[in-house]
């Protein structure tokens, strides 16, 4: 049995909410994590010491920085994937809505009705 327009509208709303609200919120957490990890480069001068003590930066700094950069890339890539997938779900909701006027109306009604709903509700 095919879906009613109301059912489709409700599903499109869930897609839209996931794409417009949930995924960007999650992506932001990863972007913030990436930013904090990457931002640590501002403190790297803490490793400085005189040449007699394996200066200027010692044995640990290079490998730590390389690993830090790798972890930064992983977090940034995760944030980007989440953002782009969110955009795709939001786009999908709009594109499917174009195929069913009643479903589109239901989608808009739910968006309006649930304007205050939080991502974890």
């Amino acid at each position: 049995m095919s879906k009613s327009s109301d059912e489709l509208g409700a599903e499109l709303y869930e897609l839209w909410f996931a794409g417009e609200r949930r995924l960007p919120a999650i992506a932001e957490e990863f972007a913030t994590a990436a930013s904090r990890v990457g931002g640590s480069m501002n403190g790297e001068s803490a490793f400085w010491r005189p040449s007699e003590l394996s200066g200027p930066y010692g044995a640990a700094r290079g490998p730590w920085v390389s690993f830090r950069d790798e972890v930064y890339d992983i977090l940034k890539e995760t944030a980007d994937n989440l953002d782009l997938t969110g955009e795709a779900l939001s786009l999908a909701a709009r594109e499917y809505a174009k195929t069913d006027r009643a479903a589109a109306a239901k989608l808009e009604q739910l968006k309006h009705q649930n304007a205050d709903v939080q991502i974890l509700d």
Binding site: K3, L8, E11, E14, L15, F17, A18, R22, L23, A25, I26, E29, F30, T32, A33, A34, R36, V37, G39, S40, N42, G43, E44, A46, F47, W48, R49, P50, S51, E52, L53, S54, G58, A59, A60, G62, P63, W64, S66, F67, R68, E70, V71, I74, L75, E77, T78, D80, N81, L84, T85, A88, L89, L91, A92, E95, Y96, T99, I119, L120
Partner: protein
């Protein structure tokens, strides 16, 4: 006595060494701190001996100088806090715990919103929707937990570095303190000896940080942390202990030189432990990147013309 006064202590060591060496050559110091030679060597002869003795110990301050500019453990605090802040962002599950220190990290409930994303896609069966659910939504917690572990390993490395310099500064200070005491007591009865415990040599401890690979396999990466903070670590090395003794100023200064050399060597060894752990973890992550970040979903590249497609989109409504 404190580390910040290390160069003042070095100057005092030099002064005491010269004084001790001159006294051993028969010089007597008056209450104002001026040396007076035995009467039979003449004024010029006395001055030559004083100059030669001063020259003999003129490198004492330069011996200490590099150790007076060691990294400040507190200067690593910003980097450490950055890592902890990132861990809080990535903290999932019921009782997320820092694998290095065992401390709890408050869970980030925003990440729970991924459950709602999965629910929104339940009725969509296009190939891109299915693979997104399978490769991204379902293993989301595992990916996030693994990423949390990587940041925890970075934090452990910084905390280990902090511990090295905290101990190194205390050890340098103690070397100076012991030298002053030894020089002040050279003329006393009994053996003039002292023991130096190089606590810096037990600064870094190894600890396992587990990550999930291939769905269920658990791999323990070798991480490091500050020995005073780690949990479930392999037994840390005993800090090297050296017995020193010296009955002359020359002998005491020679022992100080040896102690400073040992200190530099122990710092190098401890930093190498951090370097090895970071290199090893980094190599593992590069070789097993798919355990730490999901492949870019096909959906992420969807366009208006493909997003409803049964292969590259969500499929039939």
């Amino acid at each position: 006595m404190s580390y910040e006064q290390l160069m003042q202590h070095a100057a005092e060591i030099e002064r005491l060494a010269v004084k001790g060496a001159l006294e051993q050559k028969g010089f007597v110091y008056d209450p104002h701190g001026n040396p007076h030679a035995p009467t039979d060597i003449g004024e010029q002869g006395a001055q030559d001996i004083i100059d030669m003795t001063a020259k003999q110990f003129s490198d004492v301050q330069s011996m200490f100088s590099p150790f007076a500019s060691m990294p400040d453990p507190n200067a690593f605090g910003g980097m450490r806090d950055d890592m902890l802040a990132a861990m809080r962002e990535l903290s999932t599950g019921q009782t997320p715990t820092d694998p290095i220190t065992g401390l709890g990290v408050e869970a980030n409930i925003t990440l729970d919103a991924m459950g709602g994303v999965g629910d929104a896609l339940l009725d969509w069966h296009g190939k891109a929707a299915e693979t997104f659910k399978l490769n991204f939504v379902e293993p989301f917690d595992s990916f996030t937990r693994n990423q949390f572990m990587l940041v925890a390993i970075l934090k452990g490395g910084i905390e280990a570095e902090q511990e090295i310099w905290k101990n190194a500064r205390a050890n340098a200070d103690k070397i100076a303190h012991d030298a002053i005491t030894a020089l002040e007591h050279m003329g006393d009865c009994g053996k003039n000896d002292w023991t130096m415990l190089f606590t810096v040599g037990a600064s870094v401890a190894a600890v396992g940080a587990t990550v999930v690979t291939g769905g269920t396999a658990i791999i323990a990466l070798t991480a490091v942390g500050a020995a005073s903070q780690v949990v479930a670590a392999a037994a840390p090395d005993d800090p090297p202990k050296t017995q020193f003794s010296g009955e002359t100023a020359e002998a005491v200064i020679s022992q100080v030189r040896e102690a400073l050399s040992t200190l530099a060597s122990e710092i190098r060894k401890q930093e190498q432990k951090i370097a090895s752990a970071m290199t090893s973890c980094s190599s593992y992550v590069v070789a097993h990147r798919s355990s730490f970040v999901a492949a870019r979903p096909t959906l992420a590249g969807a366009t208006a013309s493909t997003v409803r497609d049964s292969q590259s989109g969500l499929g039939e409504a």
